[in-house]
Amino acid sequence: MNNLIEIRWHGRGGQGAKTASLLLADAAFNTGKYIQGFPEYGPERMGAPITAYNRISDKPITIHTNIYEPDYVVVVDDTLLECVDVTSGLKETGAIVINTTKDAEYLKQHLKGYKGEVYTIDAKKVSMETLGKYFPNTPMLAAIVKVSNIMEEKDFIADMEGSFKHKFAKKPEVIEGNMKAIELALKEVKKI
């Protein structure tokens, strides 16, 4: 991998994009990397567009700015494609991962001629099948790990199990579902 990987998350308040960015930072940290995970706080409320960021590097990271030319973009909610310029500055050597069931034609129209790789995943289906509720952030986290190849899948799975045990110490019943969501999402993410 390149020395510095920059990722930008687009989601809506309440969908867990910020949490997903922090979990990704955690997972990369556990593989020995230097990491940053931070949200861009606005007038935050349920449903409003939000942005979160990750930097992952082999060397210490000193830059403290938002990310304008990301290597990867994750879109947690495809309704954002109509109102947010999600491919802004996205490197053509990188990729965008979108939670959607829309067809290639629709996506092409809304990605403003983006020439890099486009991946999709139906995070709703994954979430409903494994958790019985719609939490898109866990499947999207798995999808970006797969697409960006920032760590080995087996390391990621092992690490997430540890993270969930810690995070859901008071709700152990959701750990199994989240782990299933990760495993299914790793299979379901497709390049178009």
Binding site: D26, I35, Q36, G37, F38, Y41, I63, H64, T65, N66
Partner: protein
């Protein structure tokens, strides 16, 4: 042996406070420092500290409670931001004039109005003349380390002044980054016990704290505060030396980044210094001799040392994350300019007001400052020393 961790700036400070285990914490929540007392109150609730946590009804009361506790002979800490500090204003001066070494974590945020919760340094700059020692932190690690060093500096018998540790709201307070933590027992040993010379709860020595002080002696007491502030400089260096022996992490009054052979330099504080380092590295690859001086100790201001460190530059830009609205320049700029002048160093200098109200300061913004400095270095002339960086063009 340091512990490799990843924490936000607020988590880092709360962890330092847990390890310090002060006698009293009195705080009132305000964005973006809310998490500090929030996390700390969970440490109190689960018994990992034995601190008396006072959930006061305002920041004025938070500082008042810290003053009362510290005067009684306890070690007191608090945290706040922006308007919280504004509401403490009256008590901020009383804390320093009573020579109470209270430690405050200030998570820098724009002072209203209009209402803004994001980062700039207007809160800190408002209390720069209040007699508090002020340490600035580039990232979570420095916020943690400065907090661990704080009590040793503030409580030193030559100093006895309150101290605030600053870090950038959201930019570092809410960003998860790598950090090296120290073992609880080692922190305890390093910080040591608070042994005040005079305190209210000493039955053998009844004293009055904060009585009337009029024409007869207030002037002398202020001069003593000023003297303590001067002495603090050496104490800060001594504590940093001990800290380095323990952790291996070096701290001075400021950090010089590629400044020994640079021709153009930026002076700034907090997280922007990290972005400037990124830009300096980039420019060095192109052969541009760019450097950075990051102020860590803003009060006392290390004027003589700053002038010495900057004297060989051909042009200097000072970045202020707060506008003094005085038609001449920001506070840090004025400090650097007067330091250079009184030490007879004549280098062309300019000032950029930047990042107000959380405006993101990009690597390109910083690069544009170095481009301006290259031009100034060539001509030796500064036509408009008081400038803006990152202002929307149409608003000029």
């Amino acid at each position: 042996m340091s512990i490799r961790e990843r924490l936000s700036g607020n988590e880092a400070v709360a962890t330092a406070m847990k390890q310090i285990n002060p006698d009293v914490v009195a705080a009132f929540p305000i964005t973006p420092s809310t998490e500090i007392p929030q996390y700390f109150s969970t440490f109190v609730a689960n018994g990992s500290v034995d601190t008396e946590f006072v959930a006061v009804e305002s920041e004025h009361s938070a500082m008042s409670a810290c003053i009362g506790a510290q005067a009684a002979g306890a070690r007191a800490m608090t945290a706040t931001s922006a308007n919280g500090l504004s509401l403490m204003w009256e008590m901020i001066y009383i804390a320093s004039s009573l020579r109470l070494p209270i430690v405050l974590n200030l998570v820098n945020r724009a002072v209203s109005g209009p209402l803004n919760i994001h980062n700039d340094h207007s809160d800190a700059m408002g209390v720069r003349d209040s007699g508090w020692i002020m340490l600035f932190s580039e990232n979570n690690q420095e916020a943690y380390d400065n907090t661990l060093m704080a009590h040793r500096i503030a409580e030193n018998k030559d100093v006895q002044l309150p101290l605030m540790v600053c870090q950038d709201g959201f930019i570092t307070s809410h960003a998860i980054e790598n950090i090296e933590l120290e073992e609880d027992s080692e922190v305890k040993n390093f910080v040591g016990e608070y042994k005040p010379e005079h305190y209210l709860l000493n039955r053998k020595e009844p004293i009055a704290v904060g009585p009337l002080d009029l024409q007869g002696y207030l002037f002398e007491h202020k001069a003593q505060q000023a003297e303590a502030m001067k002495k603090a400089k050496q104490v800060i260096l001594d504590v940093a030396k001990d800290f380095e022996k323990w952790t291996g992490r070096h701290y001075g009054l400021f950090e010089e980044y590629k400044l020994d052979d640079s021709e153009i330099a930026i002076v700034c504080m907090n997280s922007t210094a990290g972005t400037a380092k990124f830009v300096v590295d980039k420019l060095r690859e192109k052969g541009v001799k760019a450097g950075l001086l990051k102020i860590r100790v803003y009060r006392p201001f290390p004027g003589e040392e700053v002038a010495e460190a900057l004297k060989n530059q051909k042009a200097i830009a000072v970045l202020d994350k707060s506008d003094s609205l005085n038609a001449i320049g920001g506070a840090l700029f004025e400090d650097v300019v007067s330091s250079m002048y009184v030490n007879e160093e004549n280098v062309p200098m300019c000032n950029y007001i930047y990042g107000i109200g959380g405006r993101d300061t990009t690597a390109e913004d910083i690069e544009s400052v170095y481009e301006d400095l290259q031009k100034i270095a060539k001509t030796g002339k500064v036509e408009d020393p008081y400038r803006y960086l990152g202002l929307r063009r149409e608003a000029k």
